[in-house]
Every structure is written in structure tokens, then in C-alpha cells.
């Protein structure tokens, strides 16, 4: 479903990714691990079209993201949900409204938003926090709202860039459980992280990146660095 084909990306003279080739199957749960600066975030930015590779192809369902027109990027992003370490919720909106926001910008009707959003919030286990504002929620709850927002368009792919980076271990573990649950319902998940214990507990495929290159790619892998 996603294919990185000899992808290279440099920022000035600093090479972020060097000649990377990875294939990700539909319905897979893939952890991308590596130290800070190894190139994990660049990988994710390339998938959502935020950055363009210097060379190589990035295919998502046979569409080459490297060559996509700027005006088509919004539609690509409705197929891909993204979650970040810094969460990025709108502080003036409730959990419900933050999730609804994603549907509003793509022109969904109010009636659909009213039926869809509660279902998504239930999926991430936040049915009781519908009307809470971000400052009334814990870090883990906020991140779950962000995951719910990323799922609003029913994406085929969910990207999570260090989603547990700011969370304590219990909250982090909860987030991973939510991601696994989403994956079990058929959504492909790519998790970029440097949290060793979490990755080891997942027991799914792990790709290890070091200095912009893939050094390990293991089924049911472990964080070995």
C-alpha cells in the first residue's frame, strides 16, 4: 500500500534520508524507531506531502506523492490521518468540536458530523469527555482527541509521530492500545517513536533507522539500538 522506492531527502548539506526503500502492507502495524534526528519525522512528512523527496518515489495506492500537485495535497491528507507529539488541538474548542473541525473543513454536513463524531470519540474511549476543553483533559486524553480527529475522515492510513513523547508511561501505554485497536479494525498504522519499552511490547514489525538509513527491518521486531 505504501512503497518507498530509493528515497533520498537532504536539508541543505544534511542528509535526512539516504536511498530508503520500505514497503508497507495494507492493515500492517509498523513501528519506525531510531534516535532523534535519525529521519523518522522526515519519513512522515514525506508521506503527507509536507516535504518532497530529492529523488526516489513514494507510492501510496499507486499515487506518487513525490509528484502530486499542491492542489491535490488536501485530498491526500483526508486519506491519511496524522498525530503529533505536540498534539495540536484548538484550545478554544471542546473535544467534540476539535474532531468536528476536521470534518467541517472538508465540507461535511452538520447532521453527519453530529452522528460521526460521537462514534469516533467512543472508539478512542472518550465518550465521557465530549464537552471538555483541552485544558480540562490529561495529556493522554488530549492525544486521544488528536487521534480521534485524525480518524475523522476514516483514513486508510494513520501516521503517529512520537505520539507518546510528552506522556507518562501509563498514558503512553494507553495510546498504544488505542492505536492497536484502530489497527485491528483494518487501518494501517505507522508509529514513529524512540520509546523502547513500548515498541518491544507491541510485538509487530519494526524498522530501525540510523543516520537516514534502514539498518534493521524485522517482523515482530525489537528496538535493538
Amino acid at each position: 500500500m505504501i512503497k518507498f522506492d530509493k528515497v533520498t531527502k537532504a536539508y541543505g548539506k544534511i542528509a535526512a534520508l539516504k536511498d530508503i526503500s520500505i514497503g508497507i502492507q495494507k492493515g500492517e502495524f509498523l513501528s519506525v524507531v531510531g534516535q532523534s534526528g535519525a529521519g523518522k519525522s522526515t519519513l512522515i512528512k514525506l508521506i503527507i506531502g509536507e516535504e518532497r523527496p530529492d529523488s526516489g518515489r513514494i507510492l501510496i495506492d499507486d499515487i506518487d506523492v513525490a509528484k502530486i500537485r499542491s492542489s491535490d495535497i488536501p485530498y491526500l491528507r483526508r486519506k491519511i490521518g496524522v498525530v503529533f507529539q505536540d498534539i495540536k488541538l484548538l484550545p478554544s474548542r471542546t473535544a467534540f468540536e476539535n474532531v468536528a473541525f476536521a470534518l467541517e473543513v472538508s465540507g461535511e454536513k452538520e447532521s453527519k458530523i453530529k452522528t460521526e463524531v460521537p462514534k469516533i470519540l467512543e472508539l478512542v474511549g472518550l465518550s465521557d469527555k465530549t464537552d471538555a476543553f483541552p485544558n480540562e483533559m490529561s495529556g493522554g486524553e488530549k492525544q486521544r482527541v488528536a487521534i480521534a480527529r485524525a480518524l475523522a475522515h476514516k483514513p486508510v492510513l494513520l501516521l503517529a509521530d512520537e505520539p507518546t513523547g510528552n506522556l507518562d508511561s501509563i498514558n503512553a501505554w494507553e495510546i498504544i492500545q488505542v492505536l492497536l485497536k484502530i489497527n485491528s479494525k483494518g487501518t494501517t498504522v505507522v508509529l514513529a517513536t524512540h520509546a523502547k519499552d513500548l515498541v518491544n511490547s507491541i510485538k509487530k514489525r519494526v524498522v530501525t533507522i540510523e543516520k537516514g538509513q534502514v539498518v534493521y527491518d524485522q517482523e515482530k521486531g525489537k528496538y535493538v539500538l
Binding site: P74, R77, A102, E104, R149
Partner: protein, 306 residues
């Protein structure tokens, strides 16, 4: 675009306007000043132009006869001038008519009537006269020369041909000044308005940078992200047009009768407002929206990374 989206964009644009009310109102205020200046210049230009045409129509050449000219001689002169090419109309005013007209016009000014009595003692201040207008403004030259020729000399008072084109010259110079000054002022204030609006929209973009970033992440189109800023600038334009039009309406209705008297334009009162005001509203609206959209587009190009 469905109704929900339309609603959301309008709401979002209004929120932009309301969230920084102070800044929004000052942007509106500067736009009101600019639209007001443009409106005033247009009204002044229309009025000077109108009175210029009016003057061209009415004041042409006045010919004053000496008392020695008989009624027949005056009649013959009139016929000859009438036959001269380029003459459109010719009106005879007798001494008595001239006197009556003077008295009528000055009936509320006892001093002017007093002066008339003084003059009456030793002279006769009102000669018989002809008022001549030409088909074309350019015809006056030859008509004046024709009347000044020896043919009529014996009937006329010394300096009996008064060429009123000087008044017209002066009026048309005034029209030019109004136009040039108006254009200069308009250009300056349009530039100032665009700068102020640009800064206002830039501030809104800065305030909404988080929201814009999230919009991009969840797949909002560029159009959807930009629209609220354009709507915000259109709100300034609508509000500014409304305020300016109200002010102009007030100003016009308060001054139209005085303007009429001053510029000697008859029966313009209703016409001035009815004839000019709707155009002013339309011009203000288009100018305002154009300025707003230009300013917000420049601001978005520079500060809204999409």
C-alpha cells in the same frame, strides 16, 4: 460549495473581524476616510463639471446697446447676428426688463435698491441688451469678432460686447484643479488603506496560525483556508460603505440647497441626491471590496504559507 461550508466560512470570517475588534474598527475607519474622500471628490467634480456645462449653455456673449440705437436698429442687428453661422439662440432684454429683473433679484437687499436709486439720478444703468449663445464653444471666437466689426459699432455701447468665456475658462480651470487634487488625494489614501488593511489581515493570519496549521493537516483546501480572510476584508468594505454612504447622504441633504444657490444650478436639490447618491454607494462598495481583497491577497501571499 454546500450551505454548511458557506455558513462556516462566513462565521469564520466574522470571528476574524470580532476577535480583534479594536484593530478591525481602525481598519474600517481608515477605509471610511478613504471612501469619504473619494465620494467628496466625485461630488465636487460632478458639481463643477455640471456648473461648467451650465455656464456654457447659458452665458455666451452679452451685447449692450447704446441709448441712441432705435428699436428698428436693434431688431436689425438681432436678425443679422441670428443669421450668423454658429449662433444658437439670441434673447433680447429691454431696459425695463433688466431693471425689473434686478429689483426682483435684490428684493431682500435694501442696500442694492438704494444704490439703484443713487445711480438713477444721473445715469441709466440698464441698457438694452442681447444674450447670445453658440452651438459650439469654439464658435464664440468668430461670433465675437463679427459683432465687434464696424457694422454694429455705432449702435453699441463702448465696451458693449462682453465675452463671458473668461468665466468659463475660470470654471474649467477650477474643474481641472478639483480633478487633479482629487486624483492625488485618492491615490494617497488608497495606498494608506491598503497598507493598514494589509497589516490588519497579517495580524489575523498571525493570530490564527495554529488553526491554519491544523486545517492544512486535516485536509482543508487552500481555498477554504483563504476564504475567511477575504470575507473579513469584505466585512470591512461593507461596514465602511455603509458608514460613508450614510455620512454622504446626510452631507448632501444638508448642503444641496446651498450648493444650488452658490453654483447657480436650478432645481438640483432632489436631483443631486437622486442622481449622484446611488452611484456613490456602488462606487464605494466596489472600491472598498477591491481594496480589501487586494490587501488580503497580498498579506496571504506573504504570510499564509500553504
Amino acid at each position: 460549495m454546500n450551505f454548511s461550508t458557506f455558513n462556516r466560512l462566513i462565521r469564520s470570517g466574522s470571528t476574524n473581524f470580532l476577535r480583534n475588534l479594536g484593530v478591525s474598527l481602525s481598519a474600517t475607519a481608515i477605509m471610511v476616510v478613504t471612501l469619504f474622500i473619494i465620494s467628496t471628490v466625485l461630488v465636487l467634480y460632478a458639481l463643477t463639471d455640471l456648473s461648467l456645462n451650465n455656464a456654457r449653455d447659458r452665458v455666451g456673449i452679452s451685447v449692450y446697446f447704446s441709448d441712441s440705437a432705435s428699436t428698428e436698429e436693434i431688431g436689425s442687428a438681432r436678425e443679422q447676428i441670428q443669421a450668423y453661422p454658429g449662433v444658437r439662440s439670441i434673447t433680447f432684454t429691454s431696459k425695463e426688463q433688466a431693471r425689473d429683473r434686478y429689483i426682483e433679484r435684490n428684493k431682500n437687499r435694501p442696500r442694492a435698491l438704494e444704490a439703484l436709486k443713487e445711480l438713477d439720478r444721473d445715469t441709466d444703468p440698464f441698457p438694452n441688451s442681447l444674450a447670445i449663445t453658440a452651438d459650439e464653444f469654439s464658435n464664440y471666437e468668430s461670433i465675437v469678432n463679427y459683432i465687434k466689426s464696424d457694422r454694429f459699432k455705432s449702435y453699441l455701447l463702448e465696451d458693449g460686447v462682453r465675452d463671458n468665456r473668461k468665466i468659463i475658462d475660470r470654471l474649467s480651470r477650477l474643474t481641472d484643479v478639483v480633478r487633479q487634487l482629487g486624483i492625488a488625494l485618492t491615490v494617497v489614501f488608497i495606498a494608506v488603506t491598503i497598507m493598514v488593511m494589509f497589516n490588519t489581515i497579517r495580524l489575523t493570519i498571525y493570530n490564527r496560525r495554529e488553526e491554519v496549521e491544523i486545517m492544512r493537516l486535516v485536509g482543508a483546501t487552500n481555498w477554504y483556508i483563504r476564504m475567511p480572510f477575504i470575507i473579513e476584508s469584505i466585512i470591512y468594505a461593507l461596514l465602511a460603505t455603509f458608514i460613508t454612504s450614510l455620512a454622504m447622504l446626510l452631507l448632501l441633504s444638508l448642503t444641496s440647497s446651498r450648493i444650488e444657490t452658490f453654483l447657480d444650478l436650478k432645481n438640483l436639490g432632489g436631483n443631486l441626491i437622486r442622481g449622484i447618491f446611488p452611484y456613490l454607494v456602488v462606487i464605494n462598495l466596489f472600491t472598498g471590496i477591491a481594496l480589501g481583497v487586494i490587501a488580503s491577497t497580498i498579506a496571504m501571499r506573504r504570510y499564509l504559507k500553504i
